[in-house]
Amino acid sequence: MEKILVGLKRVVDYNVRVRVKSDGSGVETAGVKMSINPFDEIALEEALQIKERGDASEVIVLSIGTSESQQQLRTGLAMGADRAILVTTDDELDPLTRARIFLEVINREQPGLVVLGKQAIDEDNSQTGQMLAAIWGRPQATFASEVKLDGDTATVTREVDAGLETIEIDLPAVVTADLRLNEPRYVKLPDIMKAKKKPLEELPLSDLAIEGAPAISSTAYEPPAVREKGIMVEDVPALIGALKDKGLA
């Protein structure tokens, strides 16, 4: 195939301990470390490996967000993507609108495969890939832990609750990456320098004529319920005693 399209979302780094703002209007994101959504790094790694095996000729990374997402796209280019597209908007978009933007880019670029993360770790929605596949009228292989390409089809192993499921899909299709699909490569300094020269196209959302979907609004944020402070026990007999007190042993 010619092209693979990969989604890269800019999210709060997974190591940050996210806190709710004291006025309940959102979570504190000012000054915290931002990164590529970890599942999207895995998605990109998969696309790069497919290209390196000779099964694709170009890897395009797409992000939807403010111009700050340039940072994450540059990292994606340094990992090895060939070019980047940033659909710029200051609005927080819903998954269906994002899927419609992906579809618009697909119509322009005609990729043979689209690889997204299985979920973005900020909102934990896990919707965009499935929605994109639906409105594109193409197969979806979600939670992928192995992708084998064979001409116009792919065989994908999926991590499901029961174990590992295998499906066969016709291409083009949407694959969403799970944790064990691969291990993303580290970016080396010379690659960061080279990435600066790679093309990054900015498309204002207002130029794309995307119909917005009915959004679900977030009206209040609160910290999760905290568990009551527990006890520490000295040894195994004390542990068994504590379990007996609770009727658990």
């Binding site: 770790i121 499935q130 409105i135 174990g163 066969e168 299709a173 609004s217 609160e222 195994v236």
Partner: protein
């Protein structure tokens, strides 16, 4: 008038407990009528189970050979057709529901409320974000169909003393052939199911090998528990992937959770925050797991586990 259609999860012969939890969630919406939809090649046994769920008015079945396996692209257009007369369509937040429900939502032209953990009204819900670091109140548009997944760990199963009518439905939907089920590899185990077990023993990276996990299995078998694991343990190949508990694994709510050699990363903790009692065994007294543990024991698992297994 609120009419909720719940998409049953099943393996062809029996219903997954996640369905009974969706029913409980839906029952939290005042005045709702609740129907269950069973898509299967042969829906009989599953439909009979669903009909017993308390609170269910009607079980609707769509039987087709293509529905023998849960392929999202095949099920979604049929669900859309069946959903015409409903205001809400619910599914579980299991890998089944997470796969199919957003596809249904997109075909209906709406967004999805993922992982309902509490109901505030017919269109207002609580859901977790940032691996459970925050809980957000979401308001879905009243005029549109509402598609949602239910965080099953937040709900008890509906009782089994109902007797709903079962009706066969045929829908006019175009079934794609672009996605073909090949097979599923299920690890055979006589242990209780991780998602429904009353007791769970989980091991982390500290187990250090597949062989050492026998210590975890021994304790689990002694107390009749299911076995779970962290991502680190799964990634290292000590145990199968379906045992992973956490943000990207299973979200569980056992009465007793014993965490062995697990540090307590937020991504893991989000999977166990509804557990009744959390026991942590870790040699590092500073490990974050102790912040959430009801009973903590600082010690080396290689001496603690055998002693515990022997004396429980």
């Amino acid at each position: 008038m609120t009419k909720i259609l719940i998409i049953a999860e099943h393996d062809g012969s029996s219903m997954n407990p996640s369905t009974a939890k969706c029913v409980t969630c839906a029952s939290g919406i005042d005045g709702a009528t609740i129907d269950v939809l069973v898509l299967a090649a042969d829906a009989g046994a599953v439909a009979a189970e669903a009909a017993k769920l308390n609170g269910v008015s009607r079980v609707v079945t769509i039987e087709r050979d293509e529905n023998a396996q849960p392929v999202a692209a095949i099920l979604a257009p049929q669900i859309v057709a069946a959903a015409a007369d409903y205001t809400h369509v619910f599914g579980p937040s299991t890998t089944f529901g997470k796969d199919v429900m957003p596809r249904v939502a997109a075909l209906l032209g709406v967004n999805q409320v993922s992982d309902i953990m509490a109901v505030n009204g017919s269109h207002t819900f609580h859901r977790p974000i940032y691996a459970g670091s925050a809980v957000v109140t979401v308001q879905a548009p009243a005029g549109a169909k509402l598609v949602a997944t239910v965080r099953t760990a937040s709900y008890q199963s509906a009782a089994n003393d109902g007797s709903a009518a079962i009706e066969a439905l045929t829908v006019d939907a175009e079934i794609p052939t672009h996605t073909r089920f090949v097979g599923v590899e299920v690890s055979e185990s006589d242990r209780p199911d991780l998602q429904t077990a009353a007791k769970v023993v989980s091991g982390g990276r500290a187990l250090a090998s597949e062989e050492n996990f026998d210590l975890v299995y021994a304790l689990a078998d002694k107390i009749g528990a299911a076995v779970g694991a962290t991502r680190a343990a799964v990634d290292a190949g000590y145990i199968a992937s379906e045992t992973q508990v956490g943000q990207t694994g299973k979200i569980i709510a056992p009465e007793l959770y014993i965490a062995v050699g697990i540090s307590g990363a937020i991504q893991h903790l989000t999977g166990i925050k509804d557990a009744g009692t959390i026991v942590a065994i870790n040699k590092d007294e500073e490990a974050p797991i102790f912040e959430v543990a009801d009973i903590g024991l600082v010690g080396d698992l290689f001496t603690v586990l055998p002693e515990l297994t022997e004396n429980l």
